[in-house]
Assembly symmetry: none
DNA sequence: TCTGTTTGTAACAATTCTGTAATATCTGCT
DNA sequence: AGCAGATATTACAGAATTGTTACAAACAGA
């Protein structure tokens, strides 16, 4: 399977040139022309995202921040690119949210080199993205959960909670933390909502539900 | 209790992005926007300080130097970061006692990696903060207590008292001190409440309960 | 639009925690 | 030993936390 890369830039010509060159290098490349459009795509399928900082509508930085908040997409490396203009200093500040940074105008050669470098650094090439514990298996790319090879139907919320917990087994997450990472800052829901979702998850996971433990006064965790 | 990190940088955006990402990693993060402001904070509470070299007002170097002069703060690891990637400032930083050095612009992933590395090196890692005495073990992050590898169920209050004592073995805590640190100022409870909780703790800890000693007229302590 | 699913909320039940008070025991001193 | 002050123990009820269920709104697909 080819390594997939997503380019998000409102300048169509840039997308074209980049995707052309990256495809020559053997990558599979998709393009989005706005952050809004990109956010509707199945981001977790991509091994790397090239993100323009300055776009009309949602900025690349904002999009990156949202990605970091979801356990599904938090680990995807991002390369920012932006025109070095009057806001040079601001750009410097923003770049640190990324795994790499490229200033426009850039040479195609440079971009390809950085893409390869970041992928090497993050060991993400061909990464299967599967979480496993005994007979419990979660395929992050496919959004599926299996127990002993038979599928368990989890809803999006349930799956994200499970992924968050499974990625940090043993760690206890406070309700506040869970809200921040599953529901983002935009939506406001009650603490009790977490409890309800944990209950649902436990029920669906059967015997494995017992590993989702409560730390009274602290929160929840996946306890091995 | 989470590992606390202080970020000192006059660029607010940098503070934001770093703190956001470090919080996701499970650290508790505070920010200061100048060395002067930072020096007014209770520095000894932090397990690590990320310090910008170039700030208006007092420089990061100067602040580090002052920290090294106080026994309270001399051992806190410091990671310098600076826009000038010149070898010169790097050398200055390391001689002053910095534990690591990062040149801007940096990737968040890099910073997080270095933070973890430094904490690991200093035996203060955020992944598994563990207090241990013979067969008694407390995992602070997991909020769990074990005796000879089997879990002992402690309540929140009991656990907090035990952690307080175990962190300062030999030291005697007055009731007043214990109230202040476990119950904060918010809640007001009787002195006798402490006694009851100590009793409960002793019973649950079995043989190790004997190490929780009373200093008549003074208070309690974990006496090795 | 109809239908089924997902998801948050509310209400209530079950459980666990925790401070208090009453009583017993201990400690240091004379 | 006897006393006074300090600490230990116990039981209990109220508080706090968590679990469960049912329901309705929002959503998605046909």
């Amino acid at each position: 399977m080819k390594t997939k890369i997503l380019i998000v830039d409102d300048e169509e010509s840039i997308c074209e040139i980049l995707s052309f060159n990256l495809e020559i290098e053997g990558f599979e490349v998709d393009c989005a022309y706005s952050a809004e459009q990109a956010m509707k795509m199945p981001l977790e399928e991509y091994s790397l995202i090239i993100l323009d900082v300055m776009m009309s509508g949602k900025s690349g930085f904002k999009m990156a921040k949202e990605m970091k908040e979801s356990p599904l997409t938090a680990d995807i490396p991002i390369i920012f690119c932006s025109a070095m203009g009057s806001e040079e200093s601001k750009v410097t500040g923003l770049t640190i949210g990324a795994d790499d940074y490229i200033a426009k105008p850039f040479s195609v050669r440079e971009v390809v080199a950085r893409v390869k470098s970041v992928l090497r650094r993050c060991h993400k090439e061909g990464d299967s993205q599967i979480l496993e514990f005994k007979g419990l298996r979660v395929d992050i790319l496919k959004h599926k959960c299996y127990i002993d090879s038979s599928e368990v139907a989890l809803t999006k919320t349930e799956l994200e909670i499970l992924i968050l917990m499974l990625k940090n087994p043993g760690r206890v997450f406070s309700r506040e933390e869970i809200l921040k990472r599953i529901w983002k800052d935009e939506v406001i829901v009650l603490d009790r909502t977490i409890d309800v979702n944990i209950t649902r998850l436990r029920k669906k996971l059967g015997e494995y539900g017992n590993y989702l433990t409560t730390s009274q006064g602290y929160g929840y965790g996946f306890n091995i």
